[in-house]
Symmetry: C2
Subunit: 255 residues, 2 copies
């Protein structure tokens, strides 16, 4: 699987990132990958400067970016330490994207999927009520692209665009901010159940059904079609990942 990134679907300006952004990404990826225990000190500014071969201002700006995402906590005189994972802005697009760089953890993927199952049926239902003709057109186009996709690459991109269009059609700003979660879960899922392109085609009828319901302004229908589609995905993940559903309802060890 090639290097499909979330940014590929974002309308971000394609400007080359500065040094601060690069250092931020590098550190961010390592933190998310778990290279540092929670609460541990990271190297001080000077060490980071020499390690990355940049000046102090660059390092400080990179650290500020990570502080803003909740990954780091800086204490004057003491040092900079990694915050508890519970304090991270897990919904930040960058933080989610950095999770893509590591082996998907079944437990985390299940949590993402649980959230998808909570969010998307509602979004589809609302979309059926409030979508504008243009928004419906976007969904239709994405659905069409899924049908016509030649490569698995194209299919995934179209799939992502489909779900994004539905989310946006719900016309709820807060909901749209959850786009990254849907995309991240979708990417991880593909990574896991990658095997057979024909397998993916199985989801086409359900997508078609979601589209039809939204076109018909059938809120209930859109919800349940989306629910069914996600339940199907859920099943396939559970089949592919042994530990996918392991901790469900049996959280024993202390927090």
């Amino acid at each position: 699987m090639s290097e499909l990134l979330y940014y590929d679907l974002k309308d971000s300006a394609g400007v080359a990132p500065g040094l601060a952004t690069q250092v931020c990404r590098e550190l961010g990826r390592r933190i998310v990958a778990g290279h540092f225990p929670e609460g541990s000190l990271i190297d001080d500014e000077n060490k980071l400067c020499t390690r990355f071969g940049v000046s102090k201002s660059v390092v400080r700006e990179a650290i500020k970016l990570l502080v803003g995402k909740g990954l780091l906590e800086v204490r004057r005189g003491s040092g900079t330490r990694v915050r508890r994972r519970a304090s991270w802005n897990l919904l930040d697009d960058d933080v989610l994207a950095w999770h893509q760089g590591i082996e998907p953890k079944p437990e985390f993927l299940r949590q993402l999927m649980d959230v998808r199952q909570m969010v998307e049926p509602n979004a589809a239902g609302w979309a059926a009520k409030t979508a504008t003709p243009e928004q419906i057109e976007d969904i239709r186009n994405a659905q069409h692209d899924m049908e016509q996709a030649a490569s698995i690459q194209d299919f995934v991109v179209a799939d992502a665009l489909f779900h994004r269009s539905v989310l946006r059609a719900a016309n709820n700003e807060v909901l749209i901010a959850l786009e990254g979660v849907i995309f991240s879960a979708l990417l991880s899922s593909i990574k896991v159940t990658n095997s057979d392109p024909r397998e993916n085609k199985r989801s086409l009828p359900l997508h078609r059904q979601v589209l039809k319901a939204i076109e018909a302004h059938d809120s209930e229908g859109a919800s349940s079609a989306m629910r069914e589609h996600l339940a199907d995905t859920y099943e396939r993940l559970a089949g592919a990942l042994p530990d996918f559903n392991a901790k469900r309802g049996a959280k024993l060890q202390g927090e």
Copy 2:
């Protein structure tokens, strides 16, 4: 209503914020308040330095923080501009908190409440399945504090802690990241329906019901009790705010 802030409920280190953080907040608040049109250039680094009376490094770090939250976009040679609202990390705790500084917009509050209605019944249902004894204890304590609250202040804090405890008891990291949304909606709601303390007490039985259901590991019961409570809140908001439900299902003007 006094200056109750989200941070009051956060386990953040109570360290005095540096200059960069202060500048960031000041700018962030103004942006969120809508003082700048989308896409407009803000003052350049030098002007910001003189305006805030700080050095360039401080300004640059502040801007980096805002870039990380999606509010600003910096282009070398060109300038720094405010991004479209759709690109903001609306789920970022700071961005949500800055919304508290301005008059709550009915449309936005409704969107927050829609998301709460989507999230919290599910969370309560999951909590009923997976909550540990300690987590249930936390919920119980918050519920008890609501009953005993002497001031409206105390009541709001206890209310917030109740909903936070339930959210955390669902044992889903991604869900926990939505804490800020719940808190923000709750604060805005209080601001709107502030009038009568006795009015707030009305929600006590429903909170009690949620607690009971979770204690009994009754997932369905917890869900529906929470759903009922939120529907009630929703009604009160709709009654208090004329435009609360205005745009629902009638999104006419272009994006």
